[in-house]
Symmetry: C4
Subunit: 193 residues, 4 copies
């Protein structure tokens, strides 16, 4: 399952670059440094980091799993369904983030909602791994593992808050996702083993 998931993460993260493109301008130099082009670069960097971090945490999670059952398989597919979809709201947000107004808010909300869906399915994956009998690897302490579920819920609240931020400012929403991703880079998920 991990080889397939790794492949999906790798393709999804690479797919992000398909939406890099020059902005408006009379010379190529202007087009490559236009505000709309920079918006695409910024959205690319943030989503790249987000997918990169999910992948790292996905590995962390499966490091604690000793046996895979059918519901876990299904929840993993659900997580990948959101991961693979990320380039779509990324492209939409990149297109509208500099525009301001209702369209930029809708784009930012779509982006944040995709992340909420991703975070919820990641949380469900972990909750199932922790609570279904016999899935955790032997070296993992089940009580400690169950205690980490609270932490996951906190992460989901941050994503939910960014849905609210979307209706205030699209650039702020993008910045929020960037900061959240950087936070997750340097704060390893709790290790219950």
């Amino acid at each position: 399952m991990e080889a397939f998931s790794d492949g999906v993460f790798a393709v999804a993260i690479t797919r992000l670059a398909l939406d890099l493109k020059p902005g408006e301008g009379s010379t190529l130099g202007e087009q490559l440094t236009a505000r709309s082009a920079v918006a695409h670069y910024a959205a690319y960097v943030v989503s790249f980091l987000v997918i990169g971090i999910i992948w790292v945490n996905h590995h962390g999670l499966f490091h604690h799993v000793g046996r895979v059952d059918r519901p876990l398989l299904f929840l993993n597919l659900l997580l990948l369904l959101f991961v693979v979809a990320i380039p779509f709201p990324t492209a939409v947000l990149a297109e509208y983030v500099t525009e301001g107004g209702a369209n930029s808010h809708a784009a930012a909300a779509a982006y944040s909602l995709t992340m909420v869906g991703m975070a919820l399915s990641f949380g469900a994956l972990w909750i199932w791994a922790v609570h279904a009998p016999g899935l955790l690897a032997e070296r993992v302490d089940p009580a400690a593992a169950r205690a980490t579920v609270v932490r996951f819920t906190a992460g989901n609240l941050a994503y939910l808050a960014l849905v609210g931020v979307a209706f205030v400012s699209a650039p702020l929403t993008l910045a929020g996702h960037f900061l959240l991703a950087v936070y997750y880079v340097f704060n390893r998920l709790p290790d219950p083993s």
Copy 2:
């Protein structure tokens, strides 16, 4: 062979997201929630699940295979040929499913026929693995393995029935493929070992 097949499944499943796009509407909010956009989301989810399940069953199948010969290799390429093609009828069905009439029926029929081709080549792969001498892993009981072929044929009949449903209703066809995929998530293929 499994590493290559895994890679192909991973890319094909990720490729589905390339066809996600906003629908018609005067604001981005309307475009992202338009009926035509929702049709693309639904087609994405169904095909994602279908490819995900084929991948899971593909692993299950090769878990029982101990040795690979040339015809098996060829049948595996044939299966992958259908898997890789799935995003094409998916995009076509997403485009026409909400339109109704002859075009939506043609789109749904193309979708169902691709699945029939996929199911037939999967069945042929299994039949060859079971009947060719010396391909099954030692721990597998050949008679039990041969008995499972009937089950595969039943699955094919469900896909064939969905070709018929295509000429009644395209949305119903999509729903049928969704239900069939969910059924396969929770009903493991028979394990003859």
Copy 3:
């Protein structure tokens, strides 16, 4: 090296499906069964088979290699460069094969020349593996391995002949590549071990 090459083969083969598209016609049913659509399906099937076979033979080759040096690495990149490029002449051939005349001949020649380049770099890879000291795995008989080089040259001649056929008929060229691929499916490369 094989994991990376496997990934490249998997993505290149999946990339072929990006060029599947409906042809001309007043209804979707006509578009999906138009001559130009069928040309795209046929080109897809042939190139899928060609890349599939190269991948199989690539594995066969590296099964005989025990140590990789820098020139072998470079020749492998050269082979992958042609493999990754295959979807481009495939799309061009699919576009022009039914048109007839000079354009279809140019398309077929581009297709055949890409295959010549691929076959030549595959041959160079094998010749280097066989002749450079210390690259073959220990169980491989160097004299027997060297004797197989003639067989590779014969395959190259078939591809060269298909460059000539391109100027006679584009559909015939496509059929020739199909037959050559099927031939390679069932005729394993010589095993010098």
Copy 4:
């Protein structure tokens, strides 16, 4: 981490071929051999080689690493972020390299700057692996490893020089990147073990 990185390299290198396309001309033969088409082929070959070499050196680097910490993970994501972006400046350079003038210089500068970013993050990855305590594999001599950092800096200077060359001539810049890649094919990174 290497399986994921391998996947990313494989997809990024394959993605380059998406930008291969015919140039201007009244016949397909002319379009396929037009100066603008040849520019696309040349840009494809150079970037293919560049990504191929980074991948080889990436493997060489991680061969010396025995343990991965969070900053190393983050620096690896940063490197991949530049690798995945390479097809974008490649497409831009291919489009403008034959045009001459300010646009071709901007395109060549964007291409060289992407390579500088890639080289800097590769250098940072190596410097961190060498200087952070306990990351190098046991068989590696830390003093020898630290001594190789100078060599990395030299490579970065070559990429920086090509930013300067961009403002002289775009084709010369492309040729420079080609020569640098070929140099790296045959000159293995220093092996401090």
